[in-house]
Symmetry: C2
Subunit: 344 residues, 2 copies
DNA sequence: TTGTATGCGTTATCAC
DNA sequence: GTGATAACGCATACAA
């Protein structure tokens, strides 16, 4: 049995389709009895408005698009969970798109979202994206957009981000407070907002503690696989050697950890390590990987909340504010943890 | 500027909408010149058929639904990557839905997918699901369905699965060959296809090597958080103690690893550990976690391929076959790996 | 070979 | 108050 339509209800009650439509929408100017009858019948038939027909009509499609670099990533999948939670609660479907860190895919995803007539868009920029004209265009066509995590200043929308500056400051300050002085910073593409903010936090902490900033201690990697080893080698070759690492992503953190292990550099004996990461397996598997945790789920919730407000109330008047969510510094460097391998 | 429609092309060329439609659709004998003109104009205006209108019409929506337990899971996100790759290549959008392992959400997702008029459905059952009537209903309405990973025999569809039996057999056999005799099996809900197949593989290997099956060595957990510790404790309390663990999921493997560490049980000194898992971070962080790898991406690709064939060619006649993809046993128990913590 | 009319589910704009 | 009708973008049976 196909889903019930307005027509079904109309036939059932021997009234016209438009009356049914109004009974379900407009509360005013309609007979109370008729309305009650319609509501009742709709409930009985499990009537759900067809979002497809709605979007064709040009009205709301009750769907929002979410464009992220990838879902095989703990941060983004948690963010998506938060997004879905709030969106579903407010009656919206969520369409997920992955850019795989490629600008072309981002543009293609945008087209798909547009074709599916999403009511609004949530986006975290791909690492390849530095031109946002495709998004500006969409915005000018009237599609509400909210940026989260990796945002662009060139795109005038509300933004929800983690406190990258604060997190990086806290991490760096912690390392400095525990006596480290030569802190290497392994980070990602320099044009990303998160990269710049984290670098700024790192530099601010150094400045605050009177430690000079040294350019050679900062290396920019990508999200690609296995290029971490060489970077770590370069850094370890410096004179004097770094006594701490602060990495800016999940992959870099894990890669750095593995590289240090392989080179038999003791953690936290020889060097300390703090990553900007949301890996939960690290809790269990990497007792020496301290992390700056981002509230991924809450960021998603806040972002989608703002988007839905934008869609429903058309708060276009309100200035696009940036919401900064606090991060948490989790220190794991207990040397009393049991170790992974005990050969007999 | 809104996306171009058939009407735009028709106006531009001073012909009727239906002619344009046919020219693009290449239906039957149409004037070659007209066709060329239309094609040209369509290209110039960047015409893309509106999938929304198509689905309202009752025809193809060029979208498939994918229902998985969760995306914050390496196996499923890789599978989704495979699915998207093939689907996009063949001109389909992919709508992703998460059940969060809950039956109610699965039903709700199904409704959403239905409302969005997906052309077909790819599903991996939630761990709560043992009644598949909601899917049978959908199938009777004519929606093509393909199951993957967690499948039900009660639902008569093509299936694409990993070789759970073979993987479990190989893992167990490896442990037996290396001299282990009391192999604990930590697994998930007993009614899931993957659970049963893995258990069968485990038992078959034991039988093959003449080791009696012992019920107390098998424990059923869930996908919930942190219930692994107590199970491990129970198993370690057995007399004689297990000398190996074979776990059936990512979470169980990591949980078991952490629990063993915490209890200072040496791996692979005291016990061996093999997990049925697709964690890649484990490659770097857990040098003693051997795994049975599943070809997640290929499973996704194969599954979606079958679904699209079903949709496009309506191969309903062909018997719904089950495709079993081989797994890979990756042994990691080198005791020469550098250890995580070296306290000084 | 091409144009016209119809319908998919819904809402808005008219009439009644 | 309520019903008929047009429109959204498209495909198609039917007419020309």
């Amino acid at each position: 049995m196909a889903p019930a339509t307005l027509k079904d209800i109309a036939r059932e009650l021997n009234i016209s389709v438009s009356t049914v439509s109004r009974a379900l929408r407009d509360s005013y100017e309609i007979n109370a009895d008729t309305k009650r009858l319609v509501m009742e019948c709709a409930a009985r038939l499990h009537y759900r408005p067809n979002p497809i027909a709605l979007s064709l009509k040009g009205a709301s499609s009750k769907a929002i698009g979410v464009i992220v670099p990838q879902i095989a990533n703990y941060y983004f999948s948690q963010a998506i969970n938060g997004i879905e939670e709030v969106a579903n609660q407010r009656g919206y479907d969520v369409l997920i798109f992955q850019t795989h860190e490629a600008y072309d895919r981002e543009v293609a995803n945008l087209r798909q979202a547009l074709a599916r007539r999403v009511d609004g868009l949530l986006i975290s920029l791909s690492s390849e994206t530095n031109d946002v004209s495709h998004l500006q265009e969409l915005q000018q066509q009237g599609t509400p957009i909210v940026q989260f995590d990796r945002v662009s200043a060139l795109l005038n929308t509300p933004r929800v981000v983690a406190d990258n500056f604060g997190g990086a400051f806290a991490a760096t300050a912690h390392l400095l407070q525990s006596g480290r002085r030569r802190i290497a910073h392994l980070t990602i593409q320099p044009w990303l907002s998160i990269t710049q903010e984290r670098l700024a936090g790192y530099r601010a902490a150094l400045a605050h503690y009177g430690v000079p900033y040294e350019e050679s201690l900062v290396r920019f990697g990508t999200f690609g696989p296995d290029e971490v080893g060489p970077l770590v080698d370069e850094l370890l070759a410096l004179e004097p050697r770094p006594d701490a690492f602060f990495t800016a992503s999940d992959r870099l953190a894990v890669g750095c950890l593995a590289a240090l292990r392989q080179r038999r550099v003791a953690i936290p004996g020889d060097v300390s390590l703090i990553g900007f990461t949301n890996l939960t397996v690290a809790d269990m598997l990497a007792p020496s990987l301290s992390t700056v945790m981002q509230p991924a789920k809450q960021i998603g919730q806040e972002a989608v909340g703002r988007l839905l407000d934008l869609i429903e109330l058309k708060h276009r008047a309100a200035p696009p504010a940036t919401l900064t969510m606090p991060t948490t510094l989790v220190i794991r460097e207990s040397s009393s943890w049991p170790i992974d391998i005990i050969s007999k």
